[in-house]
């Protein structure tokens, strides 16, 4: 009877690793040049200001260096990234018209099932173009807009022009600039004043071409006293070429409005996920982030809440699971920029089989934000002695009368707890699984049911083969 090492091998995630025959209509040249950017812009029939925006972003991109902190990005070779792949399908709101091979993949991922469960709208991004999209008539009557960014650029050009990359400017960092230059696809949601969207809107992103980057843009505006729950899910098949995801999410939460933004990211394990998400919250507004990071090879993801109006609130609830070959650097940023603003940060990170999971957060309380309140609670669980977890919370408090609390826990899965459950007849695998599920339970109960189920399935997939 010797102590066994809890080494858990990487497993084939067959359910999520579905590859289709690669049949694109058009592929841009590899590498990022002015010609590539102009090509993308022309094919998308951008207005002149958007082409100018893209070219300016390209200039900024070329002038910026890769970030000097966080996980290593040396595997990234932008010269090999095909930035734009147009799938062999046109926009459609009728499931029956979606091409069979694309449909097969969605079927395996449960998209129509999700819709059957009366989700308000489904926008699925296949490669870089939205191919399937629907929204309930009721919402349209209330003046809610839910469409892809390309359509928004035509039908709601003024709004896009006003808000697009105003919160995440291209000069922010190299990947924001890249996004500005080559963005394609994504969702646009507008909720008018006082409208409360009762059922969640859902979009499902995935990538299907080897070497293709995905640069979708999500722009959501919730007007005064409106409310919305937006669900973003990502899953991509596994390819051997390094894939890059540099999406951008900009959320505008107006006075008294409320927005919940839920994500489960499950990129294939060769993906570089360098996504930028930011919310601007005005007086009495509420932003709630729910974030699950399971996939990708490397992730750098820190959704930011800018609490710009008095009494604005933010909550961030996150789960990160880094298995073999994964380096997931996740967390959040909160900027308190007005009096009586408050934020709640609650995260769980798990690492397994040599995976690296880092929790990184920044809380800034400016001089303009007296009586700010912020509480941070982050816990990490390592499933074996090969894996690594780090916690890097930074706090910068300038405002008067701030109430800031921080609680962090890092630990290995308890062999005593496993023995205890096993002594009740529960197998070792199941005992481990129960402990891990129990560990993320406070987060799982924040998720809408079907996403909680998906997250539990993802955790089970990650844990399978444990002994």
């Amino acid at each position: 009877m010797t102590n066994k090492k809890n080494y858990v091998e990487d497993i084939e995630r067959t359910l999520y690793d579905i590859k289709n025959y690669d049949k694109p209509l058009y592929k841009s040249d590899s590498g990022l040049t002015e010609k590539v950017v102009r090509d993308i812009s022309a094919r998308k029939h951008d207005p002149q200001w958007m082409l100018d925006f893209r070219l300016k972003s390209l200039e900024i991109y070329n002038s910026l260096k890769l970030p000097a902190w966080g996980p290593p990005l040396y595997e990234l070779n932008m010269d090999e990234i095909v930035t734009y792949v147009k799938p062999d399908a046109k926009m459609t709101a009728d499931w029956g018209e979606v091409p069979q091979d694309i449909k097969n993949t969605f079927d395996r991922l449960g998209i129509p099932e999700a819709e059957k469960k009366s989700l308000a709208g489904v926008g699925a991004q296949y490669d870089s173009e939205v191919v399937y999209h629907s929204i309930q008539d009721e919402l349209v009557k209330q003046g809610v807009v839910y469409t892809d960014m390309e359509t928004a650029l035509v039908e709601h050009e003024d709004m896009v022009k006003e808000y697009f990359m105003s919160l995440v400017p291209p000069k922010d960092h190299k990947f924001a600039a890249l996004h500005g230059a080559v963005w394609s696809g994504g969702s646009f949601v507008y909720v008018p004043e006082g409208v409360k969207v009762e059922i969640p809107l859902q979009s499902y992103f995935r990538l299907n071409a080897a070497g293709a980057g995905q640069f979708e843009h999500t722009l959501i505006i919730v007007e005064k006293n409106g409310s919305l729950h937006f669900i973003e899910g990502c899953s991509a098949p596994k390819y051997n070429v390094t894939n890059l995801h540099a999406g951008c999410v900009e959320l505008f939460v107006k006075e008294g409005a409320r927005l919940r933004y839920s994500t489960i990211e499950n990129w294939s394990k060769n993906m570089m996920n360098l996504n930028t998400k930011r919310a601007l919250v005005e007086k009495d507004g509420i932003i709630e982030w729910v974030s699950g990071s399971f996939g990708s090879h490397v992730s750098m993801l820190y959704p930011t809440s800018v609490l710009a109006g008095e009494n604005a609130r933010a909550s961030f609830t996150g789960v990160t699971f880094a298995a073999k070959g994964q380096n997931l650097d996740t967390g959040t940023t909160v900027i308190h920029a007005a009096p009586h603003t408050s934020a709640d940060i609650h995260t769980r990170t798990i690492s397994k089989g040599g995976g690296i999971a880092t929790y990184r957060s920044a809380v800034k309380v400016t001089k303009k934000a007296p009586f700010a309140k912020c509480s941070v609670n982050c816990e990490s669980l390592m499933l074996d002695s090969l894996s690594r977890s780090d916690t890097l919370p930074v706090m910068d408090i300038e405002g008067a009368n701030a109430d800031v609390g921080h609680e962090a826990k890092i630990g290995k899965i308890s062999e005593d707890a496993i023995f205890y459950l096993m002594s009740r007849g529960i197998s070792e695998d199941e005992a481990r699984s129960m402990i891990v599920h129990g560990f993320v339970e406070p987060i799982a109960k924040e998720l809408p049911l079907e996403y909680a189920v998906e997250m539990n399935n993802l955790i089970n997939l990650e844990l399978e083969g444990a002994n």
Binding site: M1, E415, F419, Y420, L421, S423, R424, G425, M434
Partner: protein, 248 residues
Amino acid sequence: MAENFLKIENLNVEVDGKHILKNLSLSVEKGSVNVILGPNGSGKSTLMNVIMGNPQYTVTSGSITFEGEDILPLKTFERARRGLFLSFQTPEEIAGVTVENMLRTAKAAASGEKIRLIPFRKELLATMEELKIDADYAKRDLNVGFSGGEKKKSEILQLLTLNPKLALLDETDSGLDVDAVQIVSKGVAKFHNKDNAVLIITHNAKILENLSVNKVYVLMDGRKVEEGGADLIEKIEREGFSHIQEGA
């Protein structure tokens, strides 16, 4: 078949290279109640953990059989599924796993059948009432924030729900007030019948009040130094362990 229930022969156990149990032999007959006495550090808890297969302990020689089967190669959960149960001296706290969920999972795992929620819950709540455990505890995380006494009652709840063949009770009465000891004692008495058996470590004869003890073993420094009938308990209570040590 009595002699085929639990049989331990010439058992030697090490932990971190330290020799803890030394040539220990004892047996538990079906239908019997057995008590292990001994001062702190005599190896009583180690024995319980080794019977249950705690991987922290290494059996260097000797054998343990249950119903004629060599259980040493079996993992803890396999032993549990053969009918062994350990009531822990310090039960683990498991966050995010409710009492009800754990017990239902354990019962399903042991029986290989799906356990239907409604009848299971009804039975669980009835048992909880008998043990004077508030019904809310079914939905609480297993042992998290439970007082010492609540944890021990939770162990007895698990014992009664899982209904094993052999109950190993490691100081289930320690840290309990008089009333709680009575509840635990009655719970154990309720569990016990002619087809199962109990092996109890205790410092307090009160837990035995509702039971009729068949055999008593005295452990000191990892060795069995005396065995006898129920009268041995009184003798130890009267004279302590030093008397035995001199005689041994």
